[in-house]
């Protein structure tokens, strides 16, 4: 998880670079450049961490508060004056004013800190919260500067609240000359920040509360006027706010970086392509999510204890409901809508197919896209894709491979050179998507097929489970090569996907045996190889795949039959998962309760709502790496322990594409 966050942080930082143009100070950027552009939040993080536990002295907060309260009416005009020059781009003045206050820190820090903020929405954000938090009174002050700042911020980006904050910070610094001023500016900054997201606001509120409480405790705190006082005061305030943003202003660079570190996770979580699963046993969250939801989601009532955190909805009502809203979902692109419907109805299943269908839908979207006036393609399209993705998630949780694909797409969008015209940009995105499909899926499959087919020898008995498209290609290819082998297809209810595979293989003239998973231990002794597909491969070597795969792999292991997992590298994920409980998907409970076409065995038909009956239809399971002999990917055949390497390499390639 950590690694992933850190990694994510990187692209974000870069993104930020795009909007910055609004910000006047180039020098600042250069300074900040190294830290944020490379976004080694990690590298800086240690420092940040050391600072972070800043439980230092809440009391100072109090002092600040007091001071600023007392002074607040006066400084207002001043601060506003300061601010104005800043947005204007008169950097020097600001710096000068700032330096004295932060003299302890040294000249460089002040510069860097503003710059860093500018560069990174996130950084700025963090720093800012501390400020506003101090002053409740600042609101009036905010009115003046607020307007001007807002304008700039709006231009730069609607999406990132962070930007709003940046301007705020700058004024603050200017204000720092006098501690009072500073406090005031902080207060003023606060209103600006008010535009932040809910979570941030809440954090802010909490921090303020804490600060107040502290203030009461330590009413003695003086308006620390000296620069030192100001510097220290900042950290203090931050401490309370710590959750959100721990930023000791004292070491501006470190602090800013640290903020970057702390912040990104939170923000990223929002943006993250497959957002971390919501915990569905958290009622508040579920309620909120429901309000947003496009698809009508009625929670199923009887859920298995262990899996309450996973979404489980009443099936049956969703599809008609979504259908009836066909024309009401105005912003939804028809292609996306169609794919969503197909996910929901189960018309498309299988990792590759779902991913391809989604990408093709996005291609349609991009083709039909035109940038609304006053918006930039990069931003707007990213937001749009994000909204489509959340729609698709409502229809069915995304697989990790789709998450990777989305991440790729967003990355491509974010990295579009600004110089491209709209049509060129669209063109390039479409071809990027095509390239992804062709290289990561189609070509990868071909390579995998070549590799794996070399493992098929005459006289082999190959066992496969369910229906994996790569495994199917391998079998067909090996058959084309003229190898003599037999296939055992193991299947399971309720999907019986193996039957479709069986049908196709038999049609091509392969010798097949078909059995259900109940009999896997009986059939295993005659098997010489097991080929399995995967939904994704995690960096601890765990294979996340259709439920039942683990069982087959374990039986094979017990019989000392080699287990080969065939999986394209785009399905690799840096996540680590130890069991199939914490992250999984629940299918329709009715599917296992009912035996289709057999009225005589539908014993549980009317029991669906019985309190003491809970149905569990798990969709995936996790196979530990001990049971896997080899993973066949487009990078070759690797032991499961080498997955992290592929993940790392693949990611790099990802970035360079």
């Amino acid at each position: 998880m950590e690694a992933r966050r850190g990694w994510r942080a990187v692209p974000k930082v870069r993104q930020v670079g795009f909007f910055t143009p609004n910000e006047p100070p180039p020098p600042a950027r250069t300074q900040s450049g190294p830290p944020d552009s490379n976004s080694p939040p990690l590298s800086n993080s240690p420092a940040g961490n050391s600072l972070s536990p800043v439980m230092i002295p809440p009391p100072r907060h109090l002092s600040d508060n007091l001071a600023h309260r007392a002074t607040s009416p006066l400084p207002v005009p001043e601060t506003s004056a300061f601010r104005r020059p800043i947005p204007g781009g008169d950097r020097v003045a600001v710096v000068g004013s700032y330096n004295p206050t932060d003299s302890m820190l040294g000249a460089s820090p002040p510069l860097t800190s503003p710059s860093s903020r500018i560069g990174d929405g996130e950084f700025s954000e963090e720093s800012s919260p501390g400020w506003f938090r101090r002053s409740n009174s600042a609101k009036f002050a905010s009115s003046f500067p607020g307007g001007g700042f807002d304008l700039t911020s709006i231009k730069s980006s609607e999406t990132l609240e962070v930007e709003v904050k940046k301007p705020v910070e700058v004024p603050e610094k200017s204000g720092v000359a006098g501690a009072e001023l500073q406090t005031e500016s902080q207060s003023s900054s606060k209103p600006l920040k008010a535009k932040t997201t809910k979570a941030e606001r809440r954090a802010l509120q909490e921090s303020q509360r804490a600060a107040k409480a502290a203030a009461k405790g330590e009413a003695t705190g003086k308006p620390a006027i000296s620069s030192e006082g100001a510097a220290t005061s900042k950290p203090v305030k931050q401490q309370p706010s710590r959750k959100k943003d721990a930023l000791p202003a004292a070491t501006s660079v470190a602090a800013s970086d640290r903020k970057g570190v702390d912040r990104p996770p939170e923000k990223e979580r929002k943006k993250e392509v497959p957002p971390p699963r919501m915990q569905f046993d958290d009622k508040n969250r579920v309620e909120k999510a429901k309000k947003r939801a496009v698809v009508n989601q009625t929670e199923a009532r009887n859920r298995v204890e262990l899996f309450r955190h996973l979404p489980q909805y009443e099936r049956g009502s969703q599809l008609p409901d979504l259908e009836s809203k066909f024309f009401l979902l105005d912003p939804m692109h028809p292609a996306v809508y169609k794919v969503g419907l197909q996910y929901l109805a189960g018309d498309i299943s299988g990792g590759n197919a779902r991913c391809i269908a989604m990408l093709q839908a996005f291609q349609e979207v991009i083709k039909d896209y035109s940038t609304p006036p006053e918006k930039s393609l990069t931003r707007d399209l990213t937001a749009k894709v994000g909204s489509y993705v959340s729609f698709l998630i409502e229809c069915r949780p995304l697989s990790m491979s789709m998450g990777n694909a989305i991440r790729f797409l967003k990355n491509r969008i974010a990295k579009l050179p600004l110089s491209l015209s709209e049509s060129e940009a669209k063109e390039s995105l479409c071809s990027d998507i095509n390239r992804f499909i062709n290289e990561k899926i189609v070509l990868a499959d071909k390579v995998i097929v070549r590799h794996a087919a070399s493992k098929v020898r005459d006289g082999d008995v190959l066992l496969t489970y369910g229906s994996s498209c790569v495994v199917e290609m391998i079998l067909l290819y090996a058959h084309e090569l003229g190898k003599q082998f037999r296939v055992v297809i193991v299947d399971s209810r309720p999907k019986l996907e193996g039957q479709a595979l069986l049908r196709r293989l038999v049609a091509k003239g392969l010798n097949c045996t078909y059995t259900h998973i109940n009999a896997v231990s009986y059939i295993m002794h005659e098997v010489t190889r097991v080929f399995l597909g995967a939904s994704s491969v995690l960096s601890n070597g765990t294979v996340y795949s259709r439920v039942g795969t683990a069982c087959v792999a374990m039986v094979a292991h017990a019989f000392r039959v080699p287990v080969l997992i065939c999986c394209e590298a785009y399905k690799f994920h840096e996540r680590v998962q130890l069991d199939s409980i914490c992250s999984n998907e629940l299918g329709d409970p009715d599917a296992i309760a009912k035996a289709s076409g057999r009225m005589d065995v539908n014993y549980v038909d009317n029991l669906a709502n019985k309190e003491n009956l809970q149905l569990l239809n798990l969709m995936y399971d996790a196979t530990p790496l001990e049971y896997i002999s080899m993973i066949v990917t487009d990078y070759g055949m690797i032991p499961p322990t080498s997955v992290p390497v592929i993940v790392r390499e693949y990611r790099r390639e990802h970035l360079w594409i």
Binding site: F327, K338, G350, I356, Q363, C430, V442, D445, A500, A507
Partner: protein, 461 residues
Amino acid sequence: MDFQVVVLAGGTTKKLVPLVSKEVPKALLPVANRPVLSYVLEQLELSNLKDLIVVVEGQDAALLVGAWISGAYVDRLHVEVAAVPEDVGTAGALRAIAHHLTAKDILVVTGDLVSDVPPGAVAAAHRRHDAVVTTMLCSAPVGGPAESGSSAGKDKIKKPRRYNIIGLDPAKQFLLHIATGAEVEKDIRIQKSILRAVGQMEIRTDLMDAHMYAFKRSVLQKILEEKDNFQSLKQDVLPYLVRSQLRSEMLLNGVSQAEEKGNVKVGSQDNHVVVSQILANASTQSFHELYASGHNGSASVRRIHKCCAYIASNNKYCARLNSIQAFSDINRDVIGEANHLSGYSFSTCNNIIHPSAQLGSKTTVGPHCMLGEGSQMGDKCSVKRSVIGRHCRIGSNVKVVNSVIMNHVTIGDGCSIQGSVICSNVHLQERVGLKDCQVGAGFVVTAGCEYKGESLARKEK
């Protein structure tokens, strides 16, 4: 969503004489004192479909409908009213406006549909299966009204109820067979190829074609162009498409695949094959695809297209105003069990009496009744399950049961009206007894007459 909506509002159908006349085309027949067309338009508006084409048969009718629409929906809907010659049939009407159609799919709704089934559902089913045509089926109304002697039993009025014979696949998603109208009387002929491909067919007669279709535009235009003898969507176009779904002459597959390939044009053709293969293998296939790929020996892929059905659930109201019987049924339902459709709020007594209506002493208005604005009723009247329009004057001692009385009707004392429809400006003199009658606009019934099951109208001059 790339849908275009065409409302076929019809003209002055013979079936509804004497209710319809030159002044009141079918689309403007009042249902609970609102033109029937408004029910469709509002349902569409609810679905955020605001650009509509309303096709009316006959210039005069078009003018009337256009005037009403522009008055009622002036800033809510963007409606284009198109007039087509009379008696061209539904297919003919579409043919006439075919050049206006540009969107990918066309939603065709009949103007006499009173329903709360969201049109989006049909459209979504259509898109989901990428069908050529999707039709909405609803359960056919059960016989005549159970109670109230208005069986409307006269052959003159009531034609033999037509049932559709509809064949569905086991999942109830695809339309395999449809016989409508006169064909119903004949033997059922089902194509072997379809039956063989599906394996199982469910034949139902309890479903009614609600005349809400989603068509793929390219196909619709092509059919209309090529088969110029097709008159009716329901009786010609739809059965044709259903019949030919496994040997499509529409070149649909070819076209659509070519389009798709055009879109995805990058890399080698080979890759596309693989991609489409992956998609095809992973998606649940309808019998169409299985059939098309089943005989993979033959080089050419069979051309197929899909005809889908959307079956409205039973708790939705869905009826067509296509007969006099239906007219009274719908009126009764809209103020009765399906009153959410009417858009009025009902009083605690379950009826609607406009505040400006005046009731004499000892006059009772029962539940499921509606009294329009400015109507006056004398003493000792009783109204049950009836709709009374605007500005009617009703004398004393009048009984109105199960009837529809339109606007500006004058009813003398002592009349008894049961199960009848009385159009605008009719004058009933004293002590008239009407049972199961229809009285055309402007007719004057002389005092003391008793009619049963007749249709009264002025002679057309």
